[in-house]
């Protein structure tokens, strides 16, 4: 009845749990299939999972369990002949629930007869459920935020939680009518207390690579180049192309970030985090591949003023304000707030070159964090200035990052990442080594394997 591998897995999830598979579950079983685990063995393993045992099987009669399977798959209780047949199989041939499920959905020739009309109804309902499950899992897979919405409250001990219950209820009601994508989206939206954007990716990256050319000094001297050519008139042509060195800063990056996601970038020094931030900010353009940036990314990578250090702090504020707002309306309150927060007072009118390093850091920090942005790309190196300023700056930075809808934060600080991010992307030598929920990404980063490959060398 069912052919495709992922569809088979969805069928098993529907049969046992009455819900579609979560992306990590489906991926796990697909990978096990590659290790030659058969669908029958997977069915067997699922029947022993705590989710099934605790809620559908433990202390329940065989009739209850069979009825539950039928309800999950076909929205009806088992018919009289069917029940008799399965009971007989369990009694005489040591059938387990797993065998019943397998025979019920994967065997082409029915071993007991049901009216043709009923069989067709069953097939239609099951196909509709599988279709909805595929749509649901595909939609959820697009974003870690959504993946996080669809997970149990606890794994050990198993507590399904509201989202699994809501989705299972939705699947209970699927009958002869095919679920549309909009119905599935509505279901996903209903899992979150706050509004979420299902169809709005912030950034889409396909097969991106970035090479950073390193030019030798000879290549950057026109006179030396000409001289080399002139001197080399009598000899054969020299291949100078080898003089050029390229650093592969990013390689084969594929990523979709949905609006509202908060992504922590993790990796060793030189792994590609900062290059990635510059790429999504539009500072670097990719050497190969496509990148679609559908939000205004605001980079906070280093403390630099737009204006020359010959100009005053006030000029720097004004230039920055004009660049972002294109007019000076509201500038007075903007600058008042900056003066107050940075504590520069009348120093704001003096040239920046007369400031101490701490004063410059205070001013640029105050300017850059003065207004909220849709999407931030922050590098950990973006510090907050001197110690006196640190506490206030930390609080402001926290508010600033919380106010951004979409966030990219490159950091080695687990505490910082856990505070602001829900998705973790681990970089290794310019490639994405892991992409998933932050905790899992941090676990991956701390595995000996990652350290052996990237840190110890």
């Amino acid at each position: 009845m069912i052919n495709n591998d992922s569809k088979k897995l969805q069928t098993l999830y529907i049969a046992y749990f009455g819900r579609p598979g979560d992306p990590s579950g489906i991926n796990y079983w697909l990978s096990r299939q590659k290790e030659l685990l058969s669908i029958r063995e997977i069915s067997d393993e699922l029947s022993r999972q705590e989710e099934y045992m605790k809620f559908f099987a433990q202390d329940k009669s065989l009739e209850y369990k069979i009825n539950k399977l039928y309800l999950n798959l076909f929205n009806r209780k088992v018919d009289f002949d069917g029940l008799n047949y399965w009971v007989e199989m369990v009694d005489n041939k040591d059938y387990t629930i797993s065998d019943i499920v397998f025979e019920l959905v994967f065997t082409k020739n029915k071993t007991y007869s049901i009216p043709l009309e009923q069989e067709q109804k069953d097939i239609q309902i099951l196909n509709n459920k599988i279709h909805a499950a595929e749509l649901f899992t595909k939609q959820i897979s697009q974003s870690i935020t959504l993946i996080n919405l669809y997970k149990p409250d606890s794994i050990s001990p198993w507590i399904s939680g509201d989202s699994f219950i809501k989705v299972a209820q939705f699947f209970c009601n699927i009958d002869h009518e095919k679920s549309s994508i909009d119905m599935v989206k509505d279901l996903i939206c209903s899992l979150s207390d706050s509004p979420i954007n299902l169809n709005e990716p912030a950034i889409e990256i396909n097969d991106i690579s970035l090479s950073i050319p390193i030019y030798q000094s000879e290549q950057r001297s026109l006179t030396k180049r000409l001289a080399n050519k002139a001197i080399n008139i009598t000899g054969g042509a020299l291949d100078q192309s080898n003089n050029r060195t390229n650093i592969i800063a990013l390689n084969n990056i594929n990523l979709t970030i949905m609006k509202g996601e908060r992504v922590g970038l993790i990796g060793h020094n030189g792994s590609g985090k900062s290059s990635f931030l510059r790429l999504i900010s539009g500072i670097y353009l990719p050497t190969n591949g496509n990148i679609k940036v559908l939000v205004d990314v605001y980079p906070m990578l280093q403390k630099t003023f737009l204006t020359s250090s010959e100009l005053s702090g006030l000029d720097a504020c004004k230039a920055h304000y004009l660049l972002n707002n294109h007019s000076l309306s509201g500038f007075e309150s903007f600058v008042d707030e900056i003066i107050e927060f940075s504590g520069l007072g009348s120093y704001i009118s003096l040239p920046i070159k007369t400031y101490s390093e701490g004063m410059s850091a205070r001013l640029i920090f105050s300017i850059l964090t003065s207004s909220p942005h849709d999407c931030l790309a922050i590098d950990e190196g973006f510090g907050t200035g001197d110690a006196d300023f640190c506490d206030r700056a930390e609080e402001r930075m926290k508010q600033f990052m919380e106010s951004a809808a979409t966030l990219f934060l490159a950091s080695h600080s687990e505490e910082l990442l856990k505070q602001f991010c829900n998705r973790g992307v681990v970089f290794s030598h310019g490639s994405i080594a892991y992409d998933g929920p932050l905790d899992a990404a941090l676990n991956y980063y701390h595995t000996h394997d990652y350290y052996r490959k990237n840190v110890i060398g």
């Binding site: 950057r220 001297s221 030396k224 990314v297 990578l301 280093q302 294109h326 040239p351």
Partner: protein, 265 residues
């Protein structure tokens, strides 16, 4: 073709949207330059007047000029325009390296810095030109009517040239670091071979070299239109056409070089 149109449109949109920001940063630079002087930006005009006065007397004597009044007007206008062109070109090799930190860390298009530099040079030009021109009016009052009626296209050519040519120099200098040292030498040679201190006729049989001197081709029509009220519209429109084509290719080149710019700085 669609991609090129989109690129031009994107750059134009960005330039228009951020016009207040780049104009403001240029104005701030102009202000900061004379922040410690009471006369402020009038120093620009005075320094030009001082040059005109000194060079006028010396070279007027050297070239045995009969009519000093005409010579001062000729030299004054030529020198102010030359100083502007020369300053635009000589500042250009370091334009991106001065903004390297911003180019590497902020997502502001490089065209922003070119527009800022251009507006800074424009402001400098107006500050010096207005004062020099005002004093030259005492020598020949008809200059004002000539300026108002005949100088539009030659000035337009100057302003467009002041934008694209320094960018070309800048982009080449970013690639080849030794160009910056050659620029002042080349400019000095161009100045000495251009009829600015002397009349074109003084070149005698070498007069043809002015036809190859494209900076002179920009400068001379302005001077002629202001002094004599004569404009060769055919030549001026031809130069405008060349200027617009050069502007188009310069923006295209800037756009393509933007990809590699952060790595060259």
């Amino acid at each position: 073709m669609i991609i090129i149109e989109k690129m031009l449109l994107d750059n134009f949109k960005f330039a228009f949207k951020t016009r207040k920001a780049w104009w403001y940063t240029a104005t701030s630079r102009s202000r900061a330059r004379f922040a410690r002087t009471t006369l402020g930006s009038f120093w620009l005009g005075f320094s030009n007047l001082l040059s005109i006065g000194t060079l006028g007397i010396v070279y007027g004597t050297v070239f045995s000029v009969q009519d000093f009044r005409s010579y001062f007007i000729y030299l004054g206008i030529g020198l102010v325009i030359w100083n502007t062109i020369s300053s635009s070109i000589s500042n250009s090799p370091n334009l991106f390296s001065h903004n390297s930190s911003n180019i590497k860390n902020m997502n502001v298009k490089p065209i922003f810095y070119t527009l800022e530099e251009w507006s800074f040079q424009l402001q400098t030009f107006f500050q010096s030109f207005i004062l020099v021109f005002f004093l030259l009016l005492f020598l020949q009052f008809s200059l004002i009517s000539n300026l108002l009626f005949y100088s539009w296209i030659p000035f337009l050519n100057l302003f467009i040239f002041m934008y694209w040519f320094p960018i070309i120099v800048c982009l080449i200098s970013v690639r080849f670091t030794d160009i910056a040292q050659l620029v002042p030498i080349v400019l000095q040679l161009v100045f000495l071979t251009s009829p600015i201190l002397y009349k074109k006729e003084s070149l005698g049989s070498l007069e043809w070299i002015t036809n190859l001197n494209f900076i002179y081709q920009i400068l001379d029509p302005i001077r002629l239109s202001i002094i004599d009220g004569s404009v060769n519209y055919l030549t001026s429109i031809f130069i405008l056409f060349i200027n617009l084509i050069a502007l188009f290719f310069t923006i295209r080149l800037l756009n393509s070089e933007s990809k590699i710019l952060p790595f060259l700085l």
